[in-house]
C-alpha cells in the first residue's frame, strides 16, 4: 500500500486534460474512487493501482506519492480501508457476492415452495369409484363372470391401472378388455387402460379348480389407480366373497331356479360382456324351464324341463 498525493494527481490529470472517467478506466476503479483520491490529501491505495495511475498520468510512481516518499508499511491499513479503494472493492463484493447469494436463496425458496404447493395442491384430484359384480356362489369347474365398473367425474383422457387379486383356486379364462398381464405365480390380473370415457367396464370369465372343496369361501380384492399427474388409488368395492356350492352363479337366491329378476340382472350386468360367452343359453334354458339340479358325476347342471 502506498500513500499518494491527491492534489498532485488532480493537477497531473488536468494538465493532460484527462477526465476522471479516463483515469478510472485506466486504473480499473470507479470515477467516484478517482474523485475521492483527488479530494483527499493523502489517500492510501494499493501499489498496483498507484502504478497504473502513474502510468496513465505519464509520470513516475514517485511523482504522485506523498512527498515522494516510498511506499508505506502495512500499518494503518485497517483504519484506512474505509477511505481507500478497498471500500469500493467491498462494495463490489457486496454487489457480486452478497446480493447474488440473496437472489439465489430467494429463487431457491420460491422454487421449493412452488414444488411443495404443486405436489400438494397443484394436481387435479380425481374422484374415482370402482364396484365389483361377483356372484354369491359358483360351482367348482364351471365358468363364472366378474364385472368391475369404474366411474369417474373426470372429463378427458385418463390412464388407469386395475389390479384384481384372485384366489389361488381361481383360474382366469378371458377378459374384456383383454388382460394386460396375468401374474404367473399368483394369477393376479392387471389392466392398463387409457380412456376418455367416464364409465368403463372390465369383465372377466374365470373358473374355480374342480378339486376345490364345496362350501369354501374365496376372497377377491382389487384396486384402481388413476394417473393424471399424481396417482390416486381406490379399492374396488362391492361383493368380494365367492362361496363354492352346487348352485348356478346366476341363481342368486339359491332356490335352484332362475327367476325373472335374476335373469334381468344377468342381462343388465352381463350385457356389458359382449365378447365373452358366459353361458347365457343355459341360463335362459333354466329360466324357461322348471329349474336345475347339480349332477355330481358330470359336474354339470341339468335343466329341469
Amino acid at each position: 500500500m502506498v500513500k499518494i498525493d491527491g492534489d498532485k494527481v488532480r493537477k497531473f490529470r488536468e494538465s493532460l486534460e484527462l477526465t476522471q472517467l479516463y483515469l478510472a478506466t485506466a486504473v480499473g476503479v470507479t470515477t467516484d474512487t478517482i474523485s475521492r483520491w483527488e479530494n483527499r490529501r493523502y489517500p492510501t491505495i494499493k501499489k498496483e493501482n498507484a502504478l497504473k495511475l502513474a502510468e496513465a498520468l505519464d509520470v513516475s510512481l514517485e511523482e504522485i506519492l506523498k512527498n515522494h516518499e516510498a511506499e508505506s508499511q502495512e500499518e494503518g491499513i485497517k483504519e484506512e480501508q474505509q477511505e481507500t479503494d478497498d471500500v469500493d472493492e467491498n462494495r463490489l463484493a457486496r454487489i457480486f457476492t452478497i446480493r447474488p447469494l440473496s437472489v439465489l436463496t430467494l429463487v431457491c425458496v420460491v422454487i421449493i415452495s412452488g414444488a411443495l404447493w404443486w405436489s400438494f395442491f397443484g394436481h387435479e384430484t380425481i374422484n374415482i369409484r370402482a364396484h365389483r359384480f361377483l356372484p354369491p356362489h359358483v360351482a367348482p369347474g364351471l365358468p363364472f363372470p366378474v364385472i368391475i365398473s369404474v366411474e369417474t367425474d373426470h372429463v378427458g383422457s385418463l390412464s388407469l391401472i386395475l389390479r384384481e387379486s384372485v384366489p389361488q383356486e381361481c383360474t382366469p379364462i378371458e377378459g374384456d378388455p383383454a388382460f394386460t398381464a396375468i401374474d404367473e405365480k399368483t394369477g393376479d390380473l392387471k389392466w392398463i387402460y387409457q380412456t376418455d370415457m367416464q364409465k368403463i367396464t372390465f369383465c372377466y370369465l374365470a373358473t374355480i379348480n374342480p378339486g376345490a372343496g364345496l362350501e369354501k369361501e374365496l376372497q377377491f380384492e382389487g384396486t384402481v389407480t388413476v394417473r393424471k399427474g399424481r396417482s390416486t388409488t381406490t379399492p374396488i368395492k362391492g361383493p368380494n366373497t365367492l362361496r363354492l356350492s352346487p348352485l348356478h352363479w346366476a341363481d342368486a337366491n339359491g332356490d335352484k331356479k332362475i327367476d325373472d329378476e335374476e335373469i334381468l340382472t344377468v342381462y343388465d350386468e352381463l350385457g356389458k360382456m359382449k365378447d365373452i360367452n358366459f353361458g347365457i343359453e343355459q341360463i335362459e334354458d333354466i329360466w324357461s324351464g322348471n329349474g336345475y339340479r347339480w349332477d355330481e358325476k358330470t359336474k354339470k347342471f341339468v335343466v329341469m324341463p
Binding site: D260, E261, I263, L264, T265, Y267, D268, G271, E284, W287, S288
Partner: protein, 135 residues
C-alpha cells in the same frame, strides 16, 4: 309451542311439495308403459311404449284364462307354463319406441279375461319395476 297459523302454513307447504314431487316420481318410473290394442276374441295385441333410457331387457307376461293355449305369437314367446296359462317373452336389447306383441289363442276370450304384466330393471337405479296391464 303449537301455533295453529304456523302449522297451517307448514301443512300447506308440505302438501304442495308432495303434490309437486309425487307426480315427478311416477313419471320418472314410467320408462315402460303398456296397453292392449286388442284383447277380445282369438287375437290379443299388446303395445309397449319404451322411453329413454331404455331398460336393457324387458320381460312381458301374458296371463290367459284356464284352458287357453297360444297357437302362435309374434315374436315367439320364450316360456309357457300350461298350469298357470302364462306366456313370457324375454325382450333383449330393447330400444326406445313402440313395440307390439301379438298372439293367436285357442278359443275365444272376453276383454276382461286377459291381463298382462311387464317387468324390467330401471337402468338408473337397478331396481325391479313391475307394471300391470289390463284391457
Amino acid at each position: 309451542m303449537f301455533n295453529p297459523k304456523t302449522s297451517g302454513n307448514l301443512a300447506f307447504f308440505v302438501g304442495t311439495l308432495l303434490l309437486t314431487i309425487l307426480p315427478m316420481q311416477v313419471c320418472a318410473g314410467n320408462l315402460v308403459s303398456a296397453k292392449y290394442i286388442t284383447s277380445e276374441g282369438q287375437k290379443i295385441v299388446m303395445e309397449l311404449r319404451i322411453q329413454s333410457p331404455a331398460p336393457n331387457t324387458v320381460i312381458v307376461i301374458q296371463h290367459l284364462p284356464k284352458g287357453t293355449g297360444i297357437m302362435r305369437s309374434d315374436p315367439r314367446f320364450d316360456k309357457y307354463n300350461p298350469k298357470r296359462c302364462e306366456a313370457k317373452w324375454l325382450l333383449k336389447k330393447v330400444k326406445p319406441g313402440t313395440f307390439r306383441i301379438s298372439m293367436e289363442i285357442t278359443g275365444s276370450v272376453k276383454a276382461g279375461d286377459v291381463r298382462g304384466e311387464v317387468r324390467y330393471k330401471d337402468p338408473s337405479t337397478g331396481r325391479m319395476s313391475k307394471i300391470y296391464v289390463s284391457p
